[in-house]
């Protein structure tokens, strides 16, 4: 039986994203078949089956980010299905609606699928045995720690992968050997290839994968780069050519900025959304006069008993969290989005992502179980997460498992701002700035405080009526702010 684990693709890599499963549990596989695609900050990598058999289990969903060494799934024969290690973190029963403490992922509520209704965490086989020890219980001998340092692996990951609580040097060797088998030979570039790749802004590993070599040469890089559409490098070449720069009427370049890190994530996600999603936005104008006066009146007493002042954002989050359960298509994600076998996974849990602008890019920390939190609790959570985001102190888990996102561009003065969906979610609410405007109350024109709410939803799976109704429901709650204090 082949255990699929997350390989280390680079020296700095600590975790990776499970980008895509090429097959479903139970699918037949031949040795060499690609099973799962994983992605680190810098590169993506395909893990192949090293034996004939079936995909016996998936332990990590596409879209999840996990530490290196994490078991992603198993490939083996039908006989081996019985010997499958238990996965304490996985739902073996899609009907289990209670969010489990051990599993931070949103519990499946219902799978709206065309036929099979397959849920990823399904597992073939009935008998299970104990899985490896929990991370906090793993210890390592000094010699094992030394071996782990030499191979640049994490002893906890070793313990989990090998399934021992006391890691010894031979476990490290076993782990490293397994990793090498799984990830194949590392792709290396010649010094010249590395220089050219750097100059032309291409990724060596991508070149190696494209050219089918683990030894990337200069010519490989050049041929690969020539195939790529000219974009940033073309601009760079223009700067270099000072002779033609004077005659060149195109704008002179101040700086070329590489797309990396958080910006890379944004780039990729927005690329996905713009090319694959049917994004549509509906706008509501909310009268927040009462809410603002409520905030003012609560101000001093809250500050006396809580660390945070009452905020409009907390009330919006509260309104969204309270209304979202009635609109499950908006508290959901799209799975297997290749257009043919796609289905929507609706969630029981309400985990709200909150878009936060930081110096190092847009981050979206997650407010878990937002529907169970009061306005003051939400205010506390928002304040903590925003600080952690700015200080780069967010754990990976705090940036995962969101089921719906709220983005507040109003703080920057946006009058109407249509947000873009955070894939694979189906909806996002944009909060805009509050403006004083003439309004009509009891037949008289009076000054009112007005705010736009913009709901962008994926019209492929969310009906327009559903979206508008949800937005109106949120509007009603915000216009009756006392209802949100309960």
């Amino acid at each position: 039986m082949q255990e699929l684990t997350l390989p280390k693709l680079g020296q700095a890599m600590e975790e990776g994203l499970v980008l895509e499963w090429h097959c479903d549990v139970g699918d037949e596989l031949t040795a060499g078949d690609p099973v799962v695609v994983i992605e680190s900050e810098k590169t993506s990598h395909e893990i192949e089956a090293d034996q004939d058999g079936r995909l016996l289990a998936k332990r990590v969903d596409a879209g999840d980010t996990v530490p290196i060494g994490t078991t992603l799934g198993y490939v083996g024969t039908d006989d081996e299905a019985d010997d499958l290690p238990d996965d304490s973190a996985a739902e073996t029963d899609a009907g289990a609606a209670e969010p489990s403490d051990a599993d931070a992922s949103p519990a499946d509520r219902q799978t709206a699928s065309d036929s099979s209704g397959d849920v990823d965490r399904e597992q073939i086989g009935t008998e299970t045995r104990d899985d490896g020890p929990a991370p906090e219980t793993i210890r390592a001998s000094p010699s094992a720690r030394k071996a782990a340092r030499v191979h640049d692996v994490d002893v906890t990951a070793v313990g989990q992968a090998v399934g021992v609580a006391q890691v010894r040097p031979e476990h490290v060797d076993e782990y490293v050997a397994a990793q090498e088998t799984d990830s194949g030979e590392e792709i290396r570039g010649s010094p010249a290839a590395r220089r050219i790749a750097d100059e032309r802004g291409v990724d060596l590993e991508a070149v190696g994968e494209d050219r089918g070599t683990t030894r990337v040469r200069m010519a490989d890089v050049e041929q690969y780069a020539d195939q790529q559409p000219a974009s940033i490098p073309a601009t760079d070449e223009r700067i270099d050519d000072e002779a033609t720069a004077a005659a060149d009427p195109s704008p002179s370049v101040r700086e070329t900025v590489s797309i990396t890190g958080g910006r890379q994530v944004m780039f990729d996600r927005m690329q996905t959304v713009s090319s694959e999603y049917g994004s549509t936005t509906t706008v509501a104008k909310v009268d927040v006069t009462e809410l603002r006066s409520l905030l003012d009146s609560l101000g001093s007493s809250w500050e006396a008993y809580h660390d945070v002042s009452p905020s409009l954002t907390a009330f919006v989050l509260r309104a969204v969290a309270q209304e979202l359960p009635a609109y499950p298509m908006l508290n959901a994600e799209i799975v297997d989005d290749d257009g043919t076998d796609a289905f929507v996974r609706q969630f029981e849990d309400i985990n709200l992502g909150l878009a936060v602008d930081t110096d190092h890019g847009l981050l979206v920390p997650t407010i878990y179980d937002a529907d169970t939190q009061s306005v003051t609790e939400l205010g506390d959570t928002v304040s903590d997460l925003a600080r952690q985001a700015r200080e780069r102190d967010l754990e990976m888990e705090q940036q995962q498992n969101g089921t719906f996102t709220v983005s507040n561009a109003g703080t920057f003065g946006a009058y109407i701002n249509t947000p873009q969906i955070n894939p694979p979610q189906t909806g996002i609410l944009g909060v805009c700035t509050v403006n004083e405007e003439p309004g009509v109350v009891d037949g008289e024109v009076v000054p009112r405080e007005m705010m736009h709410l913009c709901l962008t939803y994926d019209h492929r799976v969310v009906e327009g009526a559903t979206a508008v109704q949800f937005l109106q429901a949120v509007k009603r709650r915000l216009e009756d702010p006392q209802s949100l204090l309960s």
Binding site: S190, P191, A192, A193, R194, R195, R215, R217, M218, A219
Partner: protein, 335 residues
């Protein structure tokens, strides 16, 4: 080619033997401080007939035979140079240079630094190396690596007739001690030699052939092997650039680095064993200064790490040739 002959320069085709003889003749004639001595250089005209006729021309004061005693040859040369002469000493077979080694390494090379008063030791030690004549262990070793690690000594290894002449004249006029290594297997090679008076400065590398696909740094007799390999590779579409350092130490690395920056591939070629050899130093220099231009591992062509075998078939297998250079270039390109 930096040392390309001008089209107008009148040349005569000469062998290396002839060009060397002419160089010695011209220098003995030009400067009466120049002396030529060694084993059988005078009456016999040199074992390889390099000094033929010079004894007759310049007499025994300027050209004379010595006993078979290399230590004395080294010591007297240092003394003569310090006393104002410009001795040219022949050590028959470079294999025996170590016998004179103490004088060369610890005296000739050190005087300038020891006294700090512009003291110079203008002497030339001509000596023969070269494999392929069945002379075995003691009559064909390439000694350049033994001496290139000695600061203060200049080590010259020419390739063509023109360079043998120009560099020998340059060495005689140079104020530092020079070990001038002659490939005894190549004395018969012929090529154009300018009719007019000329010298070639030491410590200047020369590009012998231009190419874009691989750089071959070849020394001494291996330049011919490299040229042959380059012709064959050219038929396969691979254009090699051949850099001939000519002076092994101090090494002019500029043209080597420029060439590697162009071709991205480096192959070195020498007759001596590769381990600890000249090619290793070139490789290290390139790795230091042009690492990010290398597109393949550096390949060194040289002899195996064993003494030169007597047996003809073994010697043939031992001796690095154009075939070895050709496969090294292909290896590097296809690695």
């Amino acid at each position: 080619m930096s040392q390309q002959l001008d089209a107008e320069t009148e040349t005569t085709t000469q062998t290396i033997r002839e060009s060397l003889n002419q160089a010695l003749h011209e220098e003995l004639e030009r400067d009466e401080r120049v002396l030529l001595y060694g084993e059988d250089v005078a009456e016999y005209g040199g074992l390889y007939k390099i000094s033929e006729g010079l004894y007759e021309e310049f007499g025994e004061e300027r050209v004379f035979d010595t006993p078979l005693a290399e230590t004395s040859l080294g010591g007297t040369a240092v003394g003569a140079a310090l006393a104002g002469a410009r001795p040219v000493v022949e050590i028959m077979y470079a294999d025996f240079l170590p016998i004179a080694g103490d004088h060369l390494i610890n005296y000739a090379a050190k005087m300038y630094f020891n006294y700090g008063d512009e003291t110079s030791v203008p002497m030339v030690v001509r000596s023969m190396y070269g494999t392929g004549d069945g002379h075995g262990l003691h009559h064909g070793q390439s000694p350049e690596a033994w001496f290139m690690n000695v600061p203060g000594l200049k080590v010259v290894m020419p390739s063509t007739p023109r360079e043998y002449k120009g560099l020998l004249k340059g060495a005689i006029r140079d104020d530092d001690p020079v070990i001038f290594l002659e490939n005894k297997m190549r004395y018969g090679e012929s090529g154009p030699v300018p009719d007019e008076e000329y010298t070639i400065s030491l410590c200047e590398s020369d590009v012998k052939r231009e190419g874009t696909d691989a750089t071959i740094v070849a020394i001494g007799g291996m330049v011919y092997e490299a040229l042959e390999a380059a012709e064959r590779l050219s038929e396969q579409g691979i254009e090699c650039e051949i850099v001939d350092p000519r002076t092994i130490s101090p090494l002019d690395t500029g043209p080597i680095l420029e060439s590697v920056e162009k071709t991205n591939i480096l192959v070195t070629a020498q007759e001596a064993p590769t381990f600890g050899g000249f090619g290793s130093e070139v490789a290290a220099q390139v790795i230091d200064d042009a690492f990010f231009y290398l597109d393949a591992p550096v390949k060194r062509v040289g002899a195996p790490f064993t003494p030169i075998p007597f047996a003809e078939n073994l010697e043939e297998a031992y001796q690095p040739t154009a075939d070895d250079i050709e496969s090294a270039v292909i290896d590097a390109i296809e690695t």
